[in-house]
């Protein structure tokens, strides 16, 4: 069935290094993707999004890359800091009716930053 999934469940990175979190999706009709960060005991926090008509978008220390050919999404975090330790979800924002969108999440990747 259609889903959004992640390649790796956990990722450990040395402080100061760059982190790359990957995500695969299967619905080629998806037109919008979002990365969320969720710290322990908190709700998901919006990080960055990208529309399907783009292949790259940059934010503050984060970059999202979209490869529609292989249905792959990645989140790059530059100069990873201890505060970046969290679970990261990619989510597909899919149109599900007139004026209505529904988020479909993957299982998440846990990023641990080693001081």
């Amino acid at each position: 069935g259609e889903s959004v999934g992640l390649h790796l469940p956990t990722l450990s990175v040395q402080e100061g290094d760059n982190s790359i979190i990957n995500c695969a999706y299967s619905n080629s009709a998806s037109d919008y993707f979002i990365w969320y960060k969720q710290e322990s005991g908190k709700g998901p926090q919006f990080i960055i999004d990208i529309r399907s008509n783009m292949d790259k978008r940059q934010g503050q220390r984060v970059t999202v890359l979209l490869n529609k050919t292989v249905k792959h999404l990645s989140l790059q975090i530059a100069a990873t800091q201890p505060g970046d330790s969290a679970v990261y979800f990619c989510a597909e924002n899919r149109r599900s009716g007139a004026g209505s969108y529904q988020l479909t999440f993957g299982k998440g990747t846990k990023l641990s930053v080693i001081p």
Binding site: G43, P44, Q45, F46, D49, F89, G99, Y101, G106, K107
Partner: protein, 114 residues
Amino acid sequence: DAGVTQSPTHLIKTRGQQVTLRCSPKSGHDTVSWYQQALGQGPQFIFQYYEEEERQRGNFPDRFSGHQFPNYSSELNVNALLLGDSALYLCASSLAGSVLYTQYFGPGTRLTVL
């Protein structure tokens, strides 16, 4: 500018009981979506409310119901609680008619069913 707020933060119930969770959307938002997040999993869509009506629904039984009020706040009700209903319940708000309908989440309500 207040973000999405939810109450209560934690709740403990026993099997068979009923529970009501509350959500106030981010200022300026008019659409509220509810999600259930089991431990170690991604959030699962329950339903979405807009203009005080349920606009779409995920794969959840009728024991899960909701309501949206004229001020856009929302409630999630769960009847006949099961042990498997233990989870973090998340509310997200968005603005209908915006370009991308980006959803912003509240901190969640942790429900434990004993």
